[in-house]
Amino acid sequence: MPVESVFPRLEPFLPTVQKPIQYVGGELNSLVKDWDEAEVRWALMYPDAYEVGLPNQGVQILYEILNERDGVLAERTYSVWPDLETIMRREGIPQFTVDGHRPVGAFDIFGISFSTELGYTNMLTALDLAGIPMLATDRTDEHPIVLAGGHAAFNPEPIADFLDAAVLGDGEEIALAITEVVREWKREGSPGGRDELLMRLAKSGGVYVPKFFDVSYLPDGRIQRVAPNRSGVPWRVDKHTVMDLDAWPYPKKPLVPLAETVHERFSVEIFRGCTRGCRFCQAGMITRPVRERSITTIGNMVETGLKESGFTEVGLLSLSSADHSEIGEIAKGLADQYEGTQTSLSLPSTRVDAFNITLANEFSRGGRRSGLTFAPEGGSERMRKVINKMVTEDDLIRTVTTAYENGWRQVKLYFMCGLPTEEDEDVMAIAGMARRVIQAGREATGRRDIRCTVSIGGFVPKPHTPFQWAAQCDAETVDRRLFALKDTLRKDKEYGRAIGLRYHDGKPSIIEGLLSRGDRRVGAVIRKVWEDGGRFDGWSEHFSYERWMSAAAEVFADGPVDLDWFTVREREEVEVLPWDHLDAGLDREWLWQDWQDAIDLDSEEVEDCRWTPCYDCGVCPTMGTEIQIGPTGKKLLPLSVISG
């Protein structure tokens, strides 16, 4: 069946919608391959608005490596805003890709990348607009394989009914492996239909097919058992780890949008993984071990990426960028290389120590020194010990003093509210810390225009972390503490006006908590919310707490579980967690011991295993991986001569 572009049907309506440019494609470095020449066709989705989804690294990397392969085609699709959704429903226009404007339902694989659980309702919109049955069990051989990836896919159980498959971990190698399985199956004439294809994917243990697993429950609502329901399906599903980042230097040709997006820069991942052991951090736990990209590859990627994109900013991404074993060389090398070229460098994730000021100084050479960001995460010393983020207040004050002395005028501090064992005084300690920051800045500079911004988010316990057993703090308590902090800062005549406070109320965190640690029973809530109009739940102007509350109340009305059971309830060690059959490599006993250590005041700090002996988190032996760090001793290559 020929697949036609829906653009001619869409175009007449574009003048009437907000920011039509987001729907037309045509980005620099995007491409439209011939449909009929492709054997395997991927539609890749980031389930949020284009302005958020376009810069996503994961989607850009997969788009590029899939399209590089002969006989493989990949196009992108994003969530459409409600104004266009209304028109598409009225006119019968299906969910389309922005590259070829081809209907998503015509592709072989519909891959969706979830950075956050709040994109789940947007997935349902896309499935519905695409004409793909919402429940995996209702799909036929005519429909794409709906596949989830990204960090949220480490517990895909709340959306298990809507997915054909999910993959855990790094996408590069598994996306190509899946492509080959699909290609072979199609070449053989698609024997056994959809089920046979899913079986071929599942039996390797590298692809999770939810419908091949049955979940049974105890009378009190806890899970009794999760078990495969056909022979040949392994009991556990493994995550994927790319072990040589230098072999995967993507993106090589970054997509440059015409529309304005949230990140207008060329980003290079300088390493994956993190071994600092912050107990709240899911990303740090599920992306182990640390694997560095070498200084020479980073230098080459920056040079190629800037040349291909024309971007004026380079971001060095990772979970804790200052921890790269050669970050000093990288910073100085890039600053030297691009001095005088109107190129700015940024290091989004930084830790609290003086070395970061040296780095930040390099990055801002000759430019404006506006703001530096640090993340103590916890307001009190005790709180920071619970979360294993070992920064003393004196360290922080020393660091910010150095920053102010070096010409920086504004410091941003990130915190969380609602951490395990938190008391009101732990949150109030944030005010004291902010006051000391301003005081130190005024003393260091003799100026009054020193600013400090405090940003606070509600803590959400996440799967595959030591806090996966913890009770989430209820929204009322979080809001009460935030209000008390705000009130204290407002009343502070000496420092209050120099301190800005940004926070979100505790309600969205509770819903995020439901979706993060939920099981398959939560799927009905997501569907109900979507049917009631839930869209773009990551956007405060679209999110409705009441809609989620009433959907949860209705769905859970007659059962043993409810919203509180999933969120503010502490779990016992023996309880089967919904994601226990999905293996991130972390040893369950180690996680439990680390959780016990968190609430034991006499326990020792967990240090970074990059520099200290292995503390047996389990990842390396389970996954057959190892820490990969420098230093390589190499220098950044000198700038190649640009002719012209």
Partner: protein
Amino acid sequence: MPEGPAPAPVAQRLRVRYAKRGRLRFTSHRDISRAVERAVRRAGIPVAFSAGFSPHPKISYAGAAATGVASEAEYLEIGLTDDRDPARVRADLDAALPGGLDILDVVPATGGASLADRLQASEWLIRLDGVTPDAAEKAVEAFLAAEVIEVERLTKKGLRRFDARSAVSACVLDRRAMAAADVPCAILRMVVRHSTPAVRPDDVLTGLRQVSDLAPPSPPLVTRLAQGPLDAETGELADPLDPDRQAVPPGEDALADTGLASVLSGGTTEPGVVSAQP
């Protein structure tokens, strides 16, 4: 506070005519300015920067067409720190931009009136799908017969009321283009003087609706064909880059591509109604 070195001065100013075509008509002015800045970097064109803490490339735009409106005649001016061959800049910049944002002509500025002063009027092509030629003709006749047609438009300053008639110096039906079109439609060509408040093609359409109930069933497809000085006697638009071109030594301008030719030879419009390009 660290301070950067003084920026290099402007050595050459280039005036650039570009088109936004096809689906890229949905780019906004801000989208285009970001795309051009990046293309300039990718093409290795030595653009000059302003001084200060956040230096900006010296690129200025004259009278940009609205989001959703296609154009064959948009103009910008760019300051370089070093002399470059205009034909080479045209080719390099065009190659560095996404297809649909196309560089048509690059001419060194030679002083005289500013680009903005030369852009006195625009010629527009307006395609109205689902409108019969007769209905359109009746509306155009009624419109041209009137002396004043007051229309209202919601602007940033609130609802404004102004005359849409007097700025329109010509308005005709393009019958040849209509005959060649793939669906039943009416196609108008009009020359509209730039005035304050600006009379836009949709204001003229509002006026047409007021005088004869012309109500197109779908949004019009609007293309700016030309901008330039308006000859009061002939009613024709001249090429705003001609004064600069004439100052260039003979031979060099032969390299400049006139993009309109390709549009006019596309068979959907009638050449020569308004001579925008030689």
